[in-house]
C-alpha cells in the first residue's frame, strides 16, 4: 500500500466513525429520554417524526437558536475554549477503539479501527485525563461560584477514579501482554472474556468509568440541587450543546472501552466453528460489538434511574478506600491466575 492509499483509507474510516459517533450521540439522548420515561411508566418523546425519532434534531435546533451568553465575570478566551476541549477529547478517544477484525475490501486488508496504535490504552487514559481540563476550565472561567465548585469537584473526582481505573486496566494488560486494543480483544478469544476471568476488575473499572463520565450515581459536578448546573451553569446555546455532546460521547467511549477490555470486543464465542463465510463473520462480529456497546449504554441509563447520587465524602471514600484496594487485589488475582495456569 502506498502512502496515498493509506491516507485515503484512513480518511474514509474517520469519516464513517465520526458520522456514526454524531448519530449515536444524538440518538443516545433520545434513547436516554425514552428509557427514563419507561422507568417512570411514561411514553417518552413520540411527537417529532415517527415515534419521536426526529426529537434529537429538534433538541439540537432549539439549542442552536438560543442566545449565546458570555457572563461579564468570565474569562472569555477560556470560557469559549473549554467546550471545544471537552468535545475534541471525547471524539479523539474513539480513534483507537477497534470495532471489528481485519476485513478484505477491494484487495486491501483493512483493520476496522481508525488508528491501530500499539499503546492505544495509554492514549485513551491520557485523553480522558485531558477531558478534566475542559470541565475544570469551564468551571473556573465562568466566574461563578457554582461553576467553580462543579469544576473543582469534577477534577477531584476524575483524578481519584483515574487511579483505580488505571489499576483495573493493568489487570487486562497483564493477560493480553500488550497495550494494543486489538491484541487485548484477540486475547479474549472464545470465552476467555475478562469479565469472567477478573470480575473484580470489571466492577472497579465499570464504577470508575461511571465516575469518569460524571454520570449518576457520580454526577456530583452537576448535582442540580446543590450546584444549579455545575460547571455548565453559565453556558448556553452552542457551547452548552458542546458540553452536552461531550458528555454523551464520553458515555459511548466508556461503553466501548468496557466492551473492548472486558466483554471481548467484537468476539463471538465459537463463531469460527460454525463455518460461515468470511464476510458474514465480520458483519456478525461488528454487529456483536455494536450490540454489546448498546447494552452497556443501556446499563448506564438503567443505573442512572436505579441508584441515587452519592454524597461527596462517600464518593471520595469509595474511590480511595474501596475501589483502589479492590483494583490492587485484582492485579494480585490476575498475577496468581497467570502463574498457576500459564495463561
Amino acid at each position: 500500500m502506498g502512502i496515498w492509499e493509506i491516507i485515503i483509507i484512513t480518511l474514509i474510516k474517520i469519516l464513517i466513525v465520526v458520522t456514526i459517533m454524531f448519530l449515536t450521540v444524538a440518538y443516545l439522548v433520545y434513547f436516554e429520554r425514552k428509557v427514563s420515561a419507561w422507568v417512570q411508566n411514561r411514553l417518552g418523546p413520540n411527537r417529532v417524526g415517527y415515534k419521536g425519532l426526529l426529537q434529537p434534531f429538534a433538541d439540537v435546533f432549539k439549542l442552536l437558536v438560543k442566545e449565546d451568553i458570555i457572563p461579564d465575570a468570565a474569562n472569555k478566551p477560556l470560557h469559549t475554549l473549554s467546550p471545544f476541549i471537552a468535545l475534541f477529547v471525547a471524539f479523539a478517544t474513539y480513534a483507537v477503539i477497534p470495532f471489528g477484525p481485519s476485513v478484505n475490501i477491494f484487495g486491501y486488508d483493512i483493520k476496522l479501527v481508525v488508528a491501530d496504535v500499539n499503546i492505544g490504552i495509554l492514549y485513551v487514559l491520557a485523553l480522558t485525563s485531558l477531558g478534566v481540563y475542559g470541565i475544570t476550565f469551564a468551571g473556573w472561567s465562568s466566574g461563578s461560584k457554582y461553576s467553580l465548585l462543579g469544576g473543582v469537584r469534577s477534577s477531584a473526582q476524575m483524578i481519584s477514579y483515574e487511579v483505580s481505573m488505571g489499576f483495573s486496566i493493568a489487570g487486562v494488560i497483564l493477560f493480553a501482554e500488550s497495550l494494543r486494543p486489538i491484541d487485548i480483544v484477540n486475547a479474549q478469544y472464545g470465552w476467555m472474556w475478562n469479565i469472567i476471568l477478573q470480575p473484580i476488575g470489571f466492577i472497579t473499572f465499570v464504577v470508575s468509568a461511571f465516575a469518569e463520565t460524571n454520570r449518576l450515581p457520580f454526577d456530583l459536578p452537576e448535582a442540580e440541587p446543590e450546584l444549579v448546573g455545575g460547571y455548565h451553569t453559565e453556558y448556553s446555546s452552542f457551547k452548552f450543546a458542546g458540553f452536552f455532546l461531550a458528555e454523551y460521547a464520553n458515555m459511548i467511549i466508556a461503553s466501548c472501552m468496557i466492551v473492548t477490555l472486558y466483554l471481548g470486543g467484537w468476539q463471538i464465542p465459537y463463531i469460527d466453528k460454525l463455518g460461515l463465510s468470511e464476510t458474514l463473520t465480520v458483519i456478525l462480529q461488528v454487529g456483536a460489538f455494536i450490540f454489546k456497546t448498546i447494552f452497556m449504554l443501556f446499563v448506564f441509563l438503567w443505573v442512572r434511574w436505579s441508584i441515587p447520587r452519592f454524597r461527596y465524602d462517600q464518593l471520595m471514600n469509595i474511590g480511595w478506600k474501596v475501589m483502589f484496594p479492590l483494583a490492587l487485589l485484582n492485579i494480585v488475582w490476575v498475577a496468581v491466575l497467570i502463574m498457576l495456569f500459564n495463561l
Binding site: W38, V39, N41, R42, L43, I203, W302, S306
Partner: protein, 164 residues
C-alpha cells in the same frame, strides 16, 4: 444495651452493596415493562368524574331560558371577583333574569363557591377543562358561552343532589 443489634445494621452482603444494587436494578427493569400511564392528550382525552370542577357554566332549561334569577349571590361570594351580574325584569314566573352575566376566566380560580351558594342550582361547575384564549377580551365569557343545556350537565346536577 449498647451493642443492641439495630435494624439499621447491615449484614455482610448488604454492606458490599452489589447485591442490593442488582436488586434495585431488577426493580427498575420490571417497572420498564409495566403498562404506561401516559394519556396522549389531543387524541385521547381525560373524561373527568362528576366531582370534577371545570369551568363554571349557567344551566339552560329545555325551553331555552336560563335558571338564573340574577340574585347576585355568586358574584358576592366569588373570592376572585370574577363574576359580574346585571339583573333585569322579565314576564316569566321567576320575574328576574340576568341581563348580563359575565365570568372573567382569567380571574376564576375554580373554587366552586358560586355553585355552592346558588339557591337555584343555576350555576354549576362543568367538566370542561380546555380553556384557551389568545387575548384578554376573549377571556371574559358572556351568556353566549356560559349557557349550557341541562341535559349536558346531568352528571353534575345529580352529584350535587346526592349531597343535599
Amino acid at each position: 444495651m449498647a451493642n443492641k443489634k439495630r435494624k439499621k445494621d447491615l449484614n455482610f452482603f448488604e454492606r458490599i452493596y452489589i447485591v442490593e444494587i442488582v436488586k434495585g436494578m431488577i426493580l427498575t427493569f420490571k417497572n420498564m415493562l409495566r403498562p404506561k400511564v401516559t394519556m396522549e392528550y389531543p387524541e385521547v382525552k381525560f373524561e373527568p368524574p362528576a366531582s370534577y370542577r371545570g369551568r363554571p357554566v349557567l344551566v339552560q332549561e329545555n325551553n331555552g331560558v336560563e335558571r338564573c334569577v340574577a340574585c347576585g349571590l355568586c358574584s358576592r361570594v366569588c373570592p376572585a371577583l370574577a363574576i359580574e351580574v346585571q339583573a333585569a325584569e322579565t314576564e316569566l314566573e321567576k320575574e328576574r333574569y340576568p341581563q348580563k352575566f359575565e365570568i372573567n376566566m382569567l380571574r376564576c380560580i375554580f373554587c366552586g363557591f358560586c355553585e355552592e351558594v346558588c339557591p337555584e342550582e343555576a350555576i354549576v361547575m362543568s367538566k370542561d377543562y380546555e380553556l384557551v384564549f389568545t387575548n384578554r377580551d376573549d377571556a371574559i365569557y358572556g351568556k353566549d358561552k356560559l349557557l349550557i343545556p341541562v341535559e349536558n350537565l346531568k352528571d353534575r346536577l345529580e352529584f350535587l343532589r346526592s349531597f343535599k
